[in-house]
């Protein structure tokens, strides 16, 4: 298993020449013998927000699972800030500064809000600091701190999930479909928070099916199709590619 160092904390404002925060080279991954990722190449520059788009089943979630260490790639290399990390365990990666807000609700429903944040301290930071920061960013969570996370509204759960992911003081934040099952207004306000987080220098890889909200905060965008990244570019360039993929019926 690759050892990952705890070096991320203050490298947010690293010089341009530094290696990109995330670099994927020819990454393959499979469930059993069903290959889902078929050679993904993708780079997330330091401090940038990259929106990863694509239709259902394109392999976006799988890619995030591979980056966060939940799945091992069958082939290919993953570099994190220049370090080779393929095969590192998810907890080691979290402690090293890659955190993920997984698809669905990334909270423990049977623990209270505060207990959820407490477990965030496994990332290596002190719990008091985590709580202060989380409640400052999301005052709603403070009001509900003794409530079971499972009884929060969908938007509040996503806030908690985001707050927990930020508890690790990440260098790279992976967001998988924040918008799932939420009302458009709530989605917009969540993405406002994402924009704030990005301004503080955190690199973000955000996966969305519905492009507009993600593209609004993104510096770059990439499109996945059939287990590969088929296009990358500025958000407005990508929109035309998307239109073709969704409506043009190309395979």
């Amino acid at each position: 298993m690759t050892q990952v160092e705890h070096d991320h904390n203050h490298n947010h404002a690293a010089p341009r020449s530094a290696p990109p925060i995330l670099e994927l080279i020819n990454v393959h991954a499979a469930y059993g013998r069903i290959e889902v990722l078929r050679g993904v190449d993708l780079t997330v520059p330091r401090g940038a927000v990259l929106a990863l788009l694509g239709a259902n089943g394109a392999g976006k979630t799988t890619l995030l699972r591979v980056i966060s260490g939940l799945m091992e790639p069958t082939e290919g290399d993953i570099h994190l800030g220049g370090m080779h990390v393929s095969g590192a365990s998810p907890d080691a990666l979290t402690r090293a500064g890659v955190t993920m807000v997984p698809e669905g609700r990334g909270v423990f429903p049977n623990l209270t809000v505060e207990e959820n944040l407490w477990l965030g301290s496994y990332s290596g930071r002190h719990v008091d600091k985590i709580l202060t920061e989380a409640y400052h960013r999301f005052p709603r969570l403070k009001e509900r701190r003794r409530q079971l996370a499972g009884s929060l509204s969908g938007g509040e759960q996503q806030m908690l999930s985001l707050a927990r992911a930020l508890a690790a003081d990440p260098a790279l934040l992976l967001l998988d479909e924040l918008s799932m099952g939420l009302a458009p207004l709530i989605v917009e306000s969540l993405y406002d928070r994402v924009a704030e987080i990005a301004e503080q220098g955190v690199s973000i890889l955000v996966v969305e099916q519905f492009a507009s909200s993600a593209l609004r905060v993104a510096d770059y965008a990439a499109v996945m199709h059939g287990g590969r990244v088929v296009a990358t570019g500025e958000p407005d360039e990508i929109e035309s590619v998307l239109t073709e993929l969704y409506f043009g019926g190309t395979a």
Binding site: M100, E103, L119
Partner: protein, 657 residues
């Protein structure tokens, strides 16, 4: 008044010891979702280790306790987690039960091997502080009892603080919902579950050490005494520690006060033993329905079903081949083969229930016993007796299943265990069942004027029954019912939307399975010429299930191999005292190793054969497929296409929510 107080104290002692055992069980269940059937066996082994250190090696009590609790139990917990529990935690309930049951028997086998029963050296452990006592409300209370009650209180407090006030305890509660998420939080989830198993094993060990003075050092007594804790744990629905404690105390008191009941020895002893089981059964009947969880398809393994023509030819060839072999056997071995066939027929009932349906019955041999008893009661050679035996057993099966089948497989398995034990204590031992000497005679059946008095011909009859049942089973499997069974096993939630009355369907399946077991019993009585309750003890259902699982519980050929295995192992073990633990070591170890592949040894055998003779036509060739292979139509494929192309079974992660 004095009597009342002393019964109360006695009851509180047992209640406290049960509480410790039960909360260990609840802890591991709530943190890992593994229901450890071997919890009691852990207590038993810990008690033996304690005896070894304290009595045999003469260590002071405190040193022996510390060694058991802080060296033996943690090591055991770590090994357990790494070698067994980690592989079970995401498996279907049936696999989990078979694996922990395997561990259960394996531990008994180990104990038998390390500490063989030995008449010249009687092993015992006395209570702490001997008979020293102090007065409470006019009666004397042993220090041992006081220590036990204090230990229970300390465990409760310790568990509460750990689970609610420490981060690792909170992580333990979290892990059960989603291990992956816990890792994304930065915690090492393996470490969390190792800790659960360490603490769970420690609590089992504490209970074992406290109870051993009462039960004596015995492979079974202590093991089953702690199983009584299941009842207490169930009152808390395996979740709530306070209710688990309440259940334990109530159970302990009930046992204490049961001493008020005087009457026949059967009643007095039976009541003491049966109370916890009765309580377990009642709680199971009344616990609310569990909501179905969606998307639980994990590690499903499908056996390929041979076509009707191939099954028929194989059956006929098998029949004559086996008949030819039978002719060569001497009388003892003919009888043994007949016994193996009865086991095989019983295992066919498990192929239906467990192999196809995914349900685990821990009392299949009890049904065999019912069938045997009914035939004996008739004491006639008319085949009608067999028919009635089958019908009655099927009815009993339906009656057992009806109240609990709305629950998950775990609860059903425990209910069958409770049923089997109740039958042991209350029915099979009663004089109306097997008479006073515990043995009643049976006549062999005669068909069309032929009386099968020659054992070889009777074995031929059994062979015919086995083949016919096997063919029938395969026909069911190929038909709509079979598909439905598999679908129900794999995704009950999805089937709930089909509008099928699942409960009645399951009751029917359970009942048919019991009926087949009853048929096996009827044949057994005829084979032996008698029936005795000792042959149908609940406990013996466990090696039966494991032998079926090891040989291959999804196929007819597996049932045949399982029957042979179950018959041969005790015969082998009896050849030398050095092999005293053989049967349970092989079955338990085999189940632990193979449970992930319920297609068992038979499958491995066929694979091996295929490797040597690639084009060999194999009956019931078994293959494994990916759980989420997106080609469901293929899973029921009749002919064996080029199976080497098919992916190995995979345990799907939590990726598909």
């Amino acid at each position: 008044m004095d009597v009342f107080v002393s019964y109360t104290i006695y009851g509180l002692f047992f209640g406290a010891a049960y509480a410790i055992a039960a909360s260990g069980l609840v802890l591991t269940y709530t943190t890992t979702r593994v229901f450890n059937l071997a919890h009691g066996a852990t207590s038993m082994v810990a008690a033996f280790v304690f005896w070894q250190l304290h009595v045999d090696k003469g260590m002071p009590t405190w040193a022996a306790i510390l060694l058991v609790l802080f060296v033996f139990a943690p090591l055991y917990g770590i090994v357990l987690e790494r070698l067994v529990m980690r592989r079970v935690s995401d498996a279907p309930v049936g696999v989990m039960l078979v694996m922990t049951l395997g561990l259960f028997l394996f531990l008994i086998g180990i104990a038998q091997q390390i500490w063989p029963s030995n008449t010249s050296k009687y092993r015992y452990v006395t209570q702490f502080f001997g008979t020293k006592s102090f007065p409470v409300f006019g009666v004397q209370m042993y220090y041992h009892y006081l220590i036990t009650i204090i230990a229970a209180a300390a465990c409760a407090a310790g568990l509460y603080v750990m689970l609610n006030r420490t981060r690792i305890g909170t992580a333990m509660r979290a892990a059960v919902d989603n291990r992956e998420l816990l890792q994304l939080f930065g915690a090492n989830s393996n470490r969390v579950s190792i800790l659960s198993w360490i603490i769970g094993s420690q609590m089992a060990a504490v209970a074992g050490i406290l109870l051993v003075a009462k039960t004596g050092l015995d492979y079974y007594q202590l093991t089953f005494l702690v199983i009584n804790a299941f009842a207490a744990a169930m009152l808390g629905r395996l979740r709530s520690l306070p209710f688990t404690y309440l259940g334990s105390i109530l159970l302990g008191l009930a046992i204490g006060y049961s001493q008020y009941v005087h009457g026949s020895e059967l009643l007095e002893n039976g009541l003491q033993f049966a109370l916890p089981t009765l309580m377990l059964f009642l709680i199971l009947i009344f616990v609310p329905e569990v909501r179905l969880r969606v998307g639980q398809v994990k590690g499903v393994l499908a056996a390929n079903v041979p076509s009707a023509r191939r099954a028929l030819t194989t059956g006929v060839v098998f029949f004559f081949l086996a008949l030819f072999v039978t002719e060569l056997l001497n009388p003892t071995n003919t009888l043994r083969f007949g016994e193996a066939l009865v086991f095989g027929i019983t295992m066919l009932s498990l192929v239906l229930l467990t192999g196809y349906g995914g349900y685990v019955s821990l009392s299949q041999l009890t049904f065999v016993g019912v069938g045997a008893a009914v035939v004996c009661k008739f004491n006639t050679s008319s085949p009608v007796a067999i028919l009635v035996a089958v019908l009655i057993t099927a009815g009993v099966g339906a009656a057992v299943a009806l109240p609990v089948l709305r629950l998950t497989g775990l609860y059903l398995a425990l209910a069958t265990m409770a049923f089997g034990q109740l039958m042991d204590y209350l029915v099979f031992n009663a004089s109306f069942m097997f008479g006073f000497g515990g043995k009643i005679n049976a006549k062999r059946v005669s068909l069309f004027g032929y009386d099968f008095s020659d054992t070889t011909s009777y074995v031929a009859l059994e062979l015919a029954v086995f083949v016919l049942l096997g063919l029938g089973l395969l026909t069911i499997r190929r038909g709509a019912v079979g598909r439905l069974l598999i679908a129900l096993r794999d995704s009950p939630a999805a089937c709930a939307t089909l509008g099928l009355n699942q409960r009645w369907f399951r009751v029917a399946v359970f009942s048919v399975s019991a009926g087949v077991a009853g048929l096996a019993g009827a044949l057994m009585a005829g084979l032996q010429g008698y029936a005795a309750p000792g042959d149908y003890k609940e406990f013996q259902s466990l090696p039966l299930l494991l032998a079926a699982a090891v040989a291959g519980i999804t196929t007819v050929s597996g049932a045949f191999a399982g029957g042979l295995l179950l018959m041969l192992l005790p015969v082998l073990a009896a050849t030398s005292t050095a092999l005293s633990g053989l049967e349970f070591l092989v079955l338990g170890g085999g189940a632990i190793l193979l449970a992930r592949d319920p297609n068992g040894l038979v499958n491995l055998f066929y694979r091996g054969m295929r490797a040597v003779v690639p084009r060999m036509p194999v009956p019931g060739w078994v293959t494994q497929r990916a759980a989420s292979a997106p080609k469901p139509a293929e899973v029921d494929g009749e002919e064996d296409e080029d199976l080497d192309e098919i992916p190995e079974a995979q345990v799907a992660g939590h990726g598909v929510a």
